[in-house]
């Protein structure tokens, strides 16, 4: 039995220490934003944030997460109150089939937390581990820039927008 902190909540997990985090998130905690793509750390669709850094959850065994904070897309915002990164992706219509997008958003989020004003080149280089077969790359690029602007204005979260008159 191990305690895993996901999106601020402690979960008691009964799994082998070498179980990949992705399986625990999807099967045990029922958080399905992180996707199983290749299972080999080669496509990026399983990306979550661990202690502020983007991590491929399919190749991250549970035992590496002792005492760490895991954030999934569900931890950033909700349907009613999407986070800036989620709003930006919606406003740019950056998803087509959407399978890769949760992972893309998580790595973009980690990038923006570290570097609030990334250049085009920095975004491209950062998102290099992520594959998208639909080809919305240009929209994804725009969405990350838009998220950067949204985060810049302190009250840009949709929650505060909704409360505005």
């Amino acid at each position: 039995m191990m305690t895993l902190k996901v999106n601020g909540i402690d979960h008691q997990i009964d799994a082998d220490p070498d179980t990949p985090l992705l399986y625990v998130l999807r099967d045990d905690i029922k958080l399905n934003a992180a996707k199983f793509g290749c299972g080999l750390g080669q496509c990026g669709s399983c990306t979550v944030i661990v202690d502020g850094r983007a991590v491929l959850s399919c190749v991250t065994p549970l035992l590496l997460l002792e005492g760490k904070q895991v954030t999934t897309l569900e931890g950033l915002g909700t349907l009613e109150a999407p986070a800036p990164i989620q709003r930006a992706f919606m406003e740019e219509q950056a998803a087509q089939c959407g399978y890769c997008i949760a992972g893309m958003m998580m790595r973009a989020q980690a990038l923006l937390q570290r570097n609030p004003k990334p250049t085009d080149e920095q975004i491209r280089s950062e998102l290099e581990p992520h594959l998208c077969r639909c080809g919305t790359h240009m929209r994804i690029l725009r969405a990350v820039h838009r998220a950067s602007r949204l985060m810049d204005t302190a009250d840009a979260s949709s929650a505060s927008q909704r409360s505005a008159p």
Partner: protein
Amino acid sequence: MRKSRIIGSVIAALLIAGGVAAFAIGWRPAIAAIDPPAPQSFDAALVKRGRELAAIGNCNDCHTVRGGKNFAGGLPVPTPFGTIFSSNITPDAETGIGRWPEAAFRRAMRSGVDRDGQHLYPTFPYDHFTNVTDEDDQALYAYLMTRQPVHAPARANQLSFPLDQRFVVAGWKLLFLRRGTYQPDSAQSAEWNRGAYLVEGLAHCGSCHTPRNALGAERATAQFAGGDVDNWHAYAINAQSLAPVPWDADALFAYLRDGWHPDHGVARGPMAEVVSNLSSVPPGDIRAIATYMAGVFGAPTPDRKRQGEAVLAQVRSPSAQAPKGDAAGAAIYAAACATCHETGRTLPYGGVNLALSTAIAGPDPRNVANIVMSGVRPVEGERSPIMPGFAGSMNDGQVAALLNYLRARFSNQPAWTDVEKTVEDARRTQIVFLQTSPGPHNAPADPTQRDKP
């Protein structure tokens, strides 16, 4: 009073005499500048030959910074003596070699002196280039003089006194620079001699693979016995090689040409740039290098050969093995590594079985630490092997546990020492490395893909 004056004048006389001697040894005349020659003035076939030679010489690797213009220099090269920045070798008239006549280029290659007569630091491996023929220097010159000129002033080296004085290099050359063109060995084949000429000369393999002495010169008595480059270990590529499966000419040819070999793995780190360049070189030259180096490795002892066969047999049809090493490392390996490295997917897209890895058998864990941290980045726009980096998901203690496990499980060598320290260093230096390296340090998997737009 008088005594001290005598001592004073003796010292002054010695200083002057020393100065004159140093001047005589160290002084080189400037070679008159020319107007930059028009690119059209060079023969196209010569330029093409120069391109191939520049690829063998791996020139772009040091003379280009990541994301920067080709051959514009500025790459910081850390040495035990300080940081030296590579120079601009584009034909820019002000900041490059645009005003250098061919004689000045040849002199730089042969004796490490620039057009102004200044000594160049031996990070520029003229100790090898000294044997390059006039014809090859001519082709290299034609190639470089027809590149895009880039205005990029040299960056100041970070060296302390007296090493920041270039005449000091003249003393180094007296000790270590052996001039002379390559003398063929008539007892060997033409191919072997071609390989020797390239390996000892332009390809300057020993610059990384030969250990250096306290003054930074390659140790002649330990040629190819393994050296250091950036924060990587360049393996021993002579009889002391620790490769689990002994290298032969065919394996070397395939590895140098394609960037990977099923019995050895994928080139990465600084070697990736080398094989990436070699992919555009005529196969005959690669074959020659492989033939010569196979001789340097030497035929494996019956013992080594048997061990190599045993490792291959175990990899091809694994039998259950008693668990070795600590449980935490084993669990990390099982979840993070084995899915690629032990499922039998073929190279280069599957990971090499680590029982075949020279990195695991190597003398220190630097290379494994670097790769676990940073992974293998894809080559832009090409099919290529990749590996995710684990710097974000593993702390230093966890990487160390993994490394210790890999060593215990996949090699029959004694445990590494100072693994924690190595991991710490790898985490720190990889950040710097990724910022300064000239491109994704990786080998394209399929050479036929490389020339496509």
